[in-house]
């Protein structure tokens, strides 16, 4: 190329004036092609088996609308005002009633209302965790929880699960190893019922074992239970918190039993913890939204919320059945999956050599979407896994989605057979509960 001097004075820009000023914890906050693909998944042409959106259309929306209108007309001056940092006292009493079917005997004073249970988890992590502290999670674990732990710069250690939930011996071993090396383990985080994303439930015998192990190692347990009342087999299992009040911080939510748009959840915590949570809540939001709390409180008081939860469960059971039947009919025999008895999700492990994240563009082209398994691990495992959600699409759409997914899998398997390889950057092939090499992508 001919030599010469630049023609003009050039402007240098990074299109972000603050690029050198962000906290180091923002380093992972980059644009993601996988996230971008979900913009397509939101289109009606695509059967989305990705999102965990409750079936809000099952609610008596006219009655809810009437409730909201009357609330504003009769109590607008108070419900549109700031409220208590701990949350509305009447709602906190009602929350105790909501927790009772799972064996929890709680006092309203120990309940802190939060902006969804997601904020509850954020507050719990905020008051317990310094950077570098260890949080133990199931493998896989809820993606939203992993995001919170990442934000507070915690080290996440995953512990094996199987069809009965968290494996006690694996938990004991992990705690022992961590303690031996001087790690500061702050809590064990678990979704015991109808796990997101694994779809399994911690069995009754294991609940006592897990609590005993936490006691043995003097470690707190955070029980995240948004799906506990959404079982398909009769009464729910007793909560971990029902057995142990001092060592368990319990997170609850109305997002699945009523409406996620209201963003109302709660934390039930031992007295001293609760005091700190209230102060943390006040510094975060001043108070949880008074209007949303009033809507939830009125709904609980005036509507058959238990009947509605049963109706939700029946809706989800039908959809679960549709998904499992379609998977059995259409997917290759080499795919394995869990059989949830409640909640929203099936966790599937694809054949050896496949990479769910690399396959997602092909799936979106075929108008079906899922969440790749790596999203549910802090350490890159889950390459071969997918979370399939049955809560939102109708049974017909679920069946169509699984049919499309089967074709995508067929094409991907054929391609793998041609090239005889895993895709670039996907060395590991972690299945549901295996701990194979990490996915470096």
């Amino acid at each position: 190329m001919s030599e010469g001097t630049p023609a003009r004075i050039s402007r240098h820009t990074r299109l972000d004036s603050y690029v050198d000023r962000y906290a180091t914890r923002t380093r992972g906050m980059t644009a993601s092609e996988i996230r971008a693909l979900f913009a397509v998944a939101s289109r009606p042409e695509v059967v989305s088996l990705a999102g965990g959106m409750p079936s809000i259309s099952s609610l008596p929306l006219d009655a809810v609308a009437d409730t909201v209108a009357r609330l504003v007309a009769a109590r607008g001056a108070s419900v549109l005002q700031y409220g208590s940092g701990q949350g509305d006292p009447v709602l906190r009493e009602q929350i105790c009633t909501v927790m009772a079917p799972e064996g929890i005997d709680a006092h309203p004073d120990d309940v802190v209302v939060t902006v969804g249970s997601q904020q509850g988890l954020d507050l719990v992590t905020r008051i317990f965790c310094d950077p570098g502290d260890v949080v133990i999670c199931e493998a896989p674990s809820y993606v939203g929880a992993l995001g919170v732990f990442r934000a507070y710069e915690c080290d996440v250690v995953h512990v094996e699960m199987d069809d009965d939930g968290l494996v006690p011996e694996a938990l004991r071993q992990a705690l022992g190893t961590l303690r031996a090396r001087g790690a500061r383990v702050k809590f064990v985080y678990t979704v015991p019922n109808h796990h997101n994303p694994a779809g399994v439930t911690l069995s009754w015998p294991r609940r006592a074992e897990v609590l005993a192990i936490c006691a043995e190692h003097d470690v707190l347990l955070v029980e995240d239970n948004p799906y506990g009342l959404l079982g398909f087999k009769g009464d729910p299992l007793p909560a971990l918190r029902a057995e142990e009040a001092e060592r368990v911080v319990y997170l609850g939510s109305f997002s699945k039993t009523f409406a996620p748009g209201l963003r109302v959840g709660w934390v039930l915590a031992p007295h001293a913890v609760r005091e700190k949570l209230v102060l943390a809540q006040e510094s975060a939001t001043l108070c949880p939204p008074a209007f949303s709390q009033a809507v939830v409180s009125t709904y609980l008081a005036e509507h058959d919320w238990r009947g509605q939860v049963s109706a939700f469960s029946e809706t989800y059971r039908e959809r679960r059945d549709a998904m499992l039947e379609a998977m059995t009919e259409h997917l290759p025999g080499s795919v394995r999956w869990t059989r949830p008895d409640g909640g929203f999700y099936v966790w599937a492990t694809l054949p050896e050599g496949l990479d769910a994240k690399a396959m997602l563009p092909r799936a979106v082209t075929a108008r079906v979407a899922y969440v790749p398994g790596t999203a549910f691990y802090a350490d890159g495992f889950g390459t071969r896994c997918v979370r399939l959600s049955y809560c939102h699409p109708t049974p017909e759409r679920i069946r169509e989605g699984v049919r499309r997914l089967a074709k995508v899998l067929g094409a991907e398997l054929e391609l793998r057979a041609i090239f005889g390889t895993a895709p670039a950057g996907a060395r590991g092939a972690a299945s549901r509960y295996e701990t194979a090499g990490p996915d470096s992508s």
């Binding site: 190329m1 001919s2 030599e3 010469g4 001097t5 630049p6 023609a7 003009r8 050039s10 402007r11 240098h12 820009t13 990074r14 299109l15 972000d16 603050y18 690029v19 906050m29 980059t30 644009a31 993601s32 092609e33 996230r35 971008a36 693909l37 913009a39 397509v40 289109r43 042409e45 695509v46 690399a358 396959m359 997602l360 563009p361 092909r362 979106v364 082209t365 108008r367 991907e412 054929e414 391609l415 793998r416 041609i418 090239f419 005889g420 390889t421 895993a422 895709p423 670039a424 950057g425 996907a426």
Partner: protein
């Protein structure tokens, strides 16, 4: 000007990018006093265009359907003026191997490459074909979908054993892969703008300096992850060569109104990589940087393009 419709979204893998482009252009046009409707691709689109025809449509749908000529064919059928290349030109430009062949015939230098469908590997044996590709193209090389944008499905391959994985990743986005010799050099994008009188103008070349090794999806759409320099800090002769290459590509492919040509500059000169008929206009895209470097206003540019399209050019 009376009402303009900005078309953005669609169902391609670049839907999110397209929506961002649409919002930015719409805002810029409104800031320029233009009445804008933002519409997505759906079954309601054609009835809406037919029942209340806008003065002009600005298609900002990226990826297949948006840039392969299909959408513009439909706009031609409806008889609505639109900004950008006509369908036949889109078909040539959006297909990277075809575009490379045509601009090479016009005298532009473009890296050695082969375009291969997945079936070729199946029928001829993957190992044999990959060995031939490695012998022909050499390492390092880039595997990219023949049709697509935003660097989706693109992988730089530096070792032979990484090629199979790169091929599989690429075929997740398109059925044909372009395997191209990797050119190490300065990455430059040149926007070509059609002036109201019809003459073409190359805007100042924008140099791309990603923090990482490649200008991938994250580098493109994460503010701060890439440094842009406009005009590119390359010798004056190279700047001129880049501008001329982009003008040649625009003319050779029969493009119209606006295009963006991506080039690499090394010691040997300027290399044509690809051309975009509906280039991104997001907050981190290259066209707005070129417009700004030229001392122009984005809203005014698109308003003028809409006026040009409306005038029947």
């Amino acid at each position: 000007m009376s009402r303009v419709v900005v078309l953005a979204g669609g169902l391609s893998h670049e839907r999110d990018v397209s929506l961002r482009s649409g919002r930015r252009v719409s805002q810029a046009l409104r800031g320029h006093g233009v009445d804008v409707d933002e519409l997505d691709i759906s079954a309601e689109l054609l009835p809406a265009l037919q029942s209340d025809p806008p003065a002009c449509v600005i298609p900002l749908v990226h990826g297949a359907a948006g840039e392969d000529g299909a959408l513009r064919d439909v706009l031609e059928l409806v008889g609505v003026p639109y900004v950008g290349a006509r369908p036949d030109a889109c078909r040539l430009a959006f297909d990277k191997p075809v575009a490379k062949t045509l601009v090479a015939r016009a005298g532009l230098r473009t890296p050695a490459a082969v375009a291969l469908p997945a079936e070729a590997f199946k029928e001829l044996g993957a190992r044999t074909v990959m060995d031939s590709v490695l012998a022909e193209v050499g390492l390092p090389l880039v595997v990219k979908p023949a049709r697509g944008g935003s660097a989706l499905g693109c992988t730089v391959v530096r070792a032979a054993d990484a090629l199979p994985g790169a091929m599989v990743s690429c075929f997740a986005y398109d059925r044909v892969a372009l395997v191209e010799r990797f050119v190490a050099g300065t990455e430059v994008a040149v926007t070509v703008l059609e002036q109201p009188a019809g003459e073409l103008r190359a805007l100042p070349p924008v140099e791309v300096r990603p923090d990482g090794e490649v200008y991938d999806y994250a580098a493109r759409y994460t503010a701060g992850a890439t440094e842009f320099v406009a005009p590119a800090e390359i010798p004056a002769g190279a700047l001129t060569a880049c501008e001329e290459a982009a003008l040649t590509a625009h003319r050779t492919l029969g493009l119209r109104h606006l295009s963006r040509t991506d080039l690499m500059v090394d010691a040997e000169g300027v290399w044509f990589l690809e051309v975009n008929v509906a280039p991104g206009v997001t907050d981190t895209s290259l066209v707005p940087l070129a417009v700004e470097a030229a001392g122009l206003d984005l809203g005014a540019v698109y308003a003028e393009l809409a006026a040009t399209a409306r005038s029947g050019d």
